[in-house]
Subunit: 623 residues, 2 copies
Amino acid sequence: MSPKITTELLKQLRQVMKNPKFVQEPVQAYIVPSGDAHQSEYIAPCDCRRAFISGFDGSAGTAIVTEQHAAIWTDGRYFLQAAHQMDNNWTLMKMGLKDTPTQEDWLVSVLPEGSKVGVDPFIIPADQWKRMSKALRSAGHDLVPVKENLIDTIWTDCPQRPCKPLITLDLSYTGVSWRDKIVALRSKMAERKVMWFVVTALDEVAWLFNLRGSDVEYNPVFFAYAVIGMNTIRLFIDGDRMMDPPVREHLQLDSTLEPEFKIQVMPYGSILSELQAVGAGLSPKEKVWLSDKASYALTEAIPKAYRYLTPYTPICIAKAVKNAAETEGMRRAHIKDAVALCELFTWLEKEVPKGTVTEIIAADKAEEFRSQQKDFVELSFATISSTGPNGAIIHYKPVPETNRTLSVNEIYLLDSGAQYKDGTTDVTRTMHFGTPSAYEKECFTYVLKGHIAVSAAIFPNGTKGHLLDSFARSALWDCGLDYLHGTGHGVGSFLNVHEGPCGISYKTFADEPLEAGMIVSDEPGYYEDGSFGIRIENVVLVIPAETKYNFKNRGSLTFEPLTLVPIQTKMIDVNLLTEKECNWVNEYHQKCREVVGAELERQGRHEALRWLLRETEPLARVQ
Amino acid sequence: MSPKITTELLKQLRQVMKNPKFVQEPVQAYIVPSGDAHQSEYIAPCDCRRAFISGFDGSAGTAIVTEQHAAIWTDGRYFLQAAHQMDNNWTLMKMGLKDTPTQEDWLVSVLPEGSKVGVDPFIIPADQWKRMSKALRSAGHDLVPVKENLIDTIWTDCPQRPCKPLITLDLSYTGVSWRDKIVALRSKMAERKVMWFVVTALDEVAWLFNLRGSDVEYNPVFFAYAVIGMNTIRLFIDGDRMMDPPVREHLQLDSTLEPEFKIQVMPYGSILSELQAVGAGLSPKEKVWLSDKASYALTEAIPKAYRYLTPYTPICIAKAVKNAAETEGMRRAHIKDAVALCELFTWLEKEVPKGTVTEIIAADKAEEFRSQQKDFVELSFATISSTGPNGAIIHYKPVPETNRTLSVNEIYLLDSGAQYKDGTTDVTRTMHFGTPSAYEKECFTYVLKGHIAVSAAIFPNGTKGHLLDSFARSALWDCGLDYLHGTGHGVGSFLNVHEGPCGISYKTFADEPLEAGMIVSDEPGYYEDGSFGIRIENVVLVIPAETKYNFKNRGSLTFEPLTLVPIQTKMIDVNLLTEKECNWVNEYHQKCREVVGAELERQGRHEALRWLLRETEPLARVQ
């Protein structure tokens, strides 16, 4: 990976930062956030402005360019990747390390007195605007909205915004019709006494209407907004796709409907003016509900006194709790995904010793096996196929310049997943195709102990995911080891592979309590820069737990692994496992055998079945 | 415990809430917070306004009285106690339960439109004012400062504010002189570019000047404020106590000093006007540092643009990290405390079977044994001496109406501690003087497993205490059990038994990372309403840990128990312990034997020594 040369681009950006054609007054700094106008984590090529200006294309990071400096803030997953992709014009700000300044503190330290800091008001979330604006103002500077995106003005070959056909999902996939979802949403609105709800997140629009798209790679969403009133539904979406008969039928656009279920379709670009009209027409006490992460531009469209902002929307919370149809779909998707990975690992075991399999070939092969499965749509994120030192780059994606050949001498880490019409998968396995060293096995076993500690944890109803994070680290901590990322994230149902409002992280964020039906990942790891990376990840479903007692009648929860792919026993130092942990591995493997074994049999994949049976032989603990 | 009859008092309060003599405009609600003007947790009798108006005298709780309602918010420790102490005029709001409204939400739900909510601006912390004021304003109400405290106007026999003599502490106790503490504080002020620092917390004033007092029971503090400039020191304190020659000498009040160390002594009541004068005389960029928990009145004295507010002051953080002299003092204090408890338990073992020992007698006896130890000053909090069902009242204090007799049929829980001139102690032991049931042993053992999980935890430098809380609960959670309080709090060095900025709690609060030298409690529990309470509490010191590896050179930490009192082995179901846990108990008891045994020997307390030796026999685990 050679860094992107950005000298000329930065010069151009610094020129437009002073050009009265684009800015009312010159701005001394310009912020380029990671997201799009919907605060998406994964974005369309036309929204990859931070990658365009800096070269760093990880999924999280904010660039700030001043007259003298250019800096990128990103988290532990991306420290190595960002350092590789950026040239010397850029300073890497490692978030989470003690000495790294916040963006605000850094700006205050480098800006001349009374500076203006510009940002696209459609890209910056309102909560971030508020925090940053306050900090800058208290230091004598001003955060100002710059209507025209300054990156777009210098990005001559910027791709078009995608506008691809939609997929409709029937009840067998969603469990609930879009009409019933609207009814439930309106009842939440009535509870909070709000008259309007603005849907800004792409996955929330998709979930609400039981539609999927492919405007953003890996995330089956489409560019749209929605504004739901107590008696109206407005959907802001572009293109011919609303002319598609199945879509029209699904949304009942041509039927005679009760007026409160009649969807008004409007152009995507009219959201701001429509919302301003809503804002102007409000009577006292008529509130408008928005996520506090909605863009500053849309939030400002509603006068302050009428805004009702929450960190998580009722759609976000409802979407996280999967119903029976969704849970069953997720189970099916994970069985198919396991079949594909059993095929892959069987194939790798034969091919790796020949020295012909590169990281890219392995990733492509994984996609090939997945695409043979029913209802496969696309991958759910860029496959992390990494061997040896590349494994230590936490969100590595192989490219020709870094592409390493798998060998019997190095650890191989594969973090991959897919979108199936019935569910989303995300699984990491760490394998050795030769003989792992004692140290590699030791580290792997600590990571496994952490994985099991979370997966087998029993905890009271109402517990927030962040309270489970330390369980995943305890075995590593005991030996002075750790990993610099969270332990788990919410997973959508044929939707985004990362979703709120729950997760398992040491970072104190306002997560919602875990509830039966929620689905999260469990993925501790250990990474040694320059030598190897280990991660063991399952997607797990929150389920009720049976306990001996029941304090205050609260009930307890635990996790059921949905991912059913063998964990390589060759990598385990059995003597480091407790009896309970050993039993967990054996029971897990027994379930892989039964469930995935039956499907391999059904699909006639006999070689992979033999591989599965061998890889799931019970561990024997030396007493 | 019979409830306080408050009908007449509430009638009087509701009258003054409308009386133009006391309020500019009638207030429809009046808030009575728990603290005093220093936001102290433990308060002087003259500040017990919430207890006066409601009857509930726990250490935490806020009362709100409206024209129609009266309600108290308190946490899980006090649910039972509050329910017992309050009459039917009051509604108990159980904080931490899902359906309990916040104070703001409740006010909004009960108040008529456009209400005024009054509060004493000296009692309400600025951060709480801000949150509450904002919430009320957005619902069309107003939070207003009421200068005269309305409780004081109806409290005819309100006691005088105490003003007791001071104790000076020399270097052998404090390790650092007050002058050096001022120098260190000024260097922190220079780092943050602030010109003034306002010391509002009583323990921070005491710590800064190496003085102690006895104005508040259990907390060796005195009523005072301090304002530290880069070249000035102002101490706001009343009474003859500054005439005391040792105090004058300690503070060098009569010496010729460099002007920047000359202490100006001013009347306690002049803090507001002096601070207003400071506020009025500030030049641009001259900031004043205050805790964000300082009172609204003092915070308002500084114009908003000049305020520098932080959740923890530099004094709070420096005070939490004990130096060698303080650590050694704490060790000594805990050995003396253990001697007293060995004597107590020896005595109880003989006396309880006779049926003559009540909770109050046991508490008094504990105090008697403690008072025999060198440098004993007073207790560090009201002794929780509770047997049987009283043990389930988490912060129970025996009074004649509830006083239960200890017996060989019930669990006895003793949570007690003392102030010695060299340190502060806080220890809980749960004992059975007959034969515990299998269920009692089972619950005790889960609590013990939680205690050990925290005490033996190894974690990276920089870890916040709240990340350890779940370790204490895991064994209980596995069986569907839990406890409704945090796991640990910071402990002062001959100062408040509860202090910031660190702790171990499931509540997400902005705790500072744990550092070597910090001292916290480790006190998981289990409580069964109406039958028994179990808690095992040690005070533990954060120390560096030796680990096999050292990820990113961060270094690791662990805990060393300072409390050295046997944990009753009779209560342990050894079969529920792992080998590691069993070894922990045996090593802990071995240390109690050696260290406390030697001191019992030295003090000639042979019967207690024999008790100690018997109680610290190693556990034998059945294989």
